[in-house]
């Protein structure tokens, strides 16, 4: 027992020293720059080192597969089957011509007509545009996260060791660091905004509120090791406007709000989120709705309009897709925010999935699991483009305007512009869409029939 004593105190001392060092590092390299909005560039160096390691790891896997003479599984992003671009009419004409030799203008039904729809149906079952967008994008090179690897069996000993080291670093060093930062950021936000809330309204309050918000969001950005590149910052949203962006995860808010001072819109939640929301609204006029009010579209529109009409008020931040998409495409924008009549500032956000997939599949993961996954990834790397402001032209309606904004965002971010509704993740297709194809076919068969019987 006496022999253990000096050893014991040695361990305790070591522990004490390492914790102190950790906290000093935290303070000096992370929190202080966050407060002043400067950066040492540590994250960029980190990113470059990681990229080199990933390339090496991918090469090793390829080499391992070559040695065993197996093909590697490479996920194919654009779809797995070839869909012919021929139209309904062309195909049915072709089939009929090859069969009975009758032209299409004899209005009859042929047994072979069923074939076209059957094949189209099977094609969609094998591979459709929409369902693909709702699962995480597949990577081409391996980023040392086992959650993204499909070629597990080709990893050599060296790679396994590297992966093990990666796990150790991510879970034992990065994770506690990030949790400490997140904790600091959130508590500073809550206390800071509450304190600022007690000040009388005026320029001082606004100034302090802005900087408290910015500082805390910057700390949160560092808590996720988010490496963000902002483009075209001269187009940043101004007061009295609406900022719309594509939605991939709840982190989008932190990313945008750390570079600008926005009024947020959303539903009041319970728990920790609710505490944060209630504190934030004391310092700055965010627009929070009760759960019951969210369903009432007119009420929502009214409050937003009131906010926007006051030109001194902050720009509102809205995500019109209504749900998280997996960042390979942009889905239908809900027209509500485009009816208000304010200037719209579109923003495109594109994540680089190599370092950590930011997509929140809310049907697969809860919020806590999701945050844990984020904090144990290497980093979140993304690009933000501020697009020039757009206003609704006199001859277009809200839906057309929404689509115009959506195309601009999709084009800038290199995302696929889809007509489909993000709400399809949970709901079924509206009936209006269903009828189009059927109408076309029946017109082919019957339309002429009616002419004939009339003549």
């Amino acid at each position: 027992m006496f022999l253990l004593l000096p050893f014991d105190s040695l361990v305790v001392n070591l522990l004490g020293i390492s914790i102190t060092v950790l906290f000093t590092l935290l303070l000096v390299f992370i929190i202080v720059p966050a407060i002043f909005g400067v950066s040492f560039g540590i994250r960029k160096v980190y990113m470059k080192t990681l990229l080199k390691i990933f390339q090496w790891a991918t090469l090793r896997i390829e080499r391992g597969a070559k040695e065993k003479n197996h093909p590697l599984y490479k996920p194919y992003v654009n779809g797995i089957i070839a869909k012919d671009p021929t139209s309904l009419e062309e195909e049915i004409k072709e089939i009929r011509r090859s069969g009975s030799g009758k032209a299409l203008d004899t209005p009859e039904f042929e047994l072979s007509d069923i074939f076209y729809f059957c094949r189209k149906g099977i094609e969609t079952i094998m591979d459709d545009e929409v369902t693909k967008r709702f699962s995480a994008e597949e990577l081409e090179s391996w980023n040392l996260l086992s959650r993204t690897n499909y070629n597990f069996q080709y990893i050599s000993l060296r790679l396994t060791v590297l992966w093990g080291l990666g796990v150790l670093i991510r879970y034992c060093f990065l994770l506690p660091l990030r949790i400490a930062l997140a904790f600091t950021g959130i508590s500073l936000l809550v206390t800071g905004t509450t304190v600022v809330g007690y000040l009388p309204n005026g320029r001082c309050k606004e100034f302090l509120s802005k900087h408290v918000h910015l500082m805390c969001y910057r700390i949160c950005v560092r808590a996720l090791t988010a490496i963000i590149t902002y483009h075209d910052r001269e187009n940043r949203p101004r007061n009295g406007g609406i900022c719309v962006a594509n939605h991939t995860s709840p982190i989008d808010v932190i990313i945008l709000a750390s570079d600008g001072y926005y009024a947020m819109v959303g539903q009041i939640h319970g728990g920790l989120m609710g505490v944060i929301q209630r504190a934030m609204v004391k310092a700055c006029p965010h627009v929070w709705f009760e759960r019951s009010e969210v369903k009432d579209r007119h009420l929502v529109a009214k409050r937003l309009t009131e906010h926007v009409q006051d030109k001194s008020k902050l720009p509102i931040l809205i995500f019109p897709e209504g749900t998280c998409i997996n960042n390979t495409s942009v889905m239908m924008f809900k027209k509500g925010s485009f009816e208000i009549g304010a200037t719209v500032y579109p923003v495109a956000i594109k994540y680089d999935p190599q370092f950590g997939d930011a997509f929140w599949n809310s049907s697969k993961y809860g919020m806590v699991t999701y945050l844990l996954r984020m904090m144990t990834s290497w980093a979140i790397v993304c690009s933000v483009w501020y697009l020039p402001p757009m206003t609704r032209q006199p001859e277009e309606d809200a839906v057309q305007f929404a689509n115009r904004v959506k195309s601009a965002i999709a084009r800038q971010g290199g995302l696929v512009d889809l007509l489909w509704d993000g709400g399809l993740k949970r709901e079924k297709v509206k009936d209006a869409f269903k009828e189009e194809q059927q109408k076309l076919y029946s017109k082919m068969i019957v339309g002429n029939h009616e002419d004939r019987s009339r003549s």
Binding site: Y76, S112, I122, M126, T131, S135, K434, Q438
Partner: protein, 213 residues
Amino acid sequence: LPRAQGAHPPSPLSFPPTVTSEQIEHLHRRFKQLSRDQLTIRKENFDSIPDLEFNPIRGKIVHAFFDKRNLRQESDGLADEINFEDFLTIMSYFRPIEMNMDEEQLDRFRKEKLKFLFHMYDSDHDGKITLQEYRNVVEELLSGNPHLEKESARSIADGAMMEAASICVGQMGPDQVYEGITFEDFLKMWQGIDIETKMHVRFLNMETIAHCY
């Protein structure tokens, strides 16, 4: 071992290779997506495909997946759920032609595909397409048009059925009743139509990392 192919689309004379292990992997992942990571799929799982709603004969297509005749099972009727093997069995009806098929294989191939279509028409599994079943199919195909009266759809179906009867049985006496299209008659009607080259779904050529032999 699959050959690594170039990225240009297959010309009419170059036939794609047999189903590779990659394609099976892809189908497996698709299966898992549809089944939400369960081992079997039920009819409800097909509701999650929005594009399928476009299709007027959606019901019949989904039905075909659970039809025991298509699943090559001895018994008759409908299965409640299918596993991945069954899913592949149905997908195999849409396999493209293989280069090395001889006449007999081609004929069998064609008959299989036509049998699949026949089962779609013959909903009561009695081996014949009756007038009522025919009418059902036509009505479903034309169901999207709200302006179309039921009578028009019905008369179109009847006209087509009579045409079918004349092809299969020739001239009928006034007392003869045409019971329905049997499979042999069905085959007659598809003569000349190259089902085997049209009824397939082509996989896009996937690049495998080149490996040396």
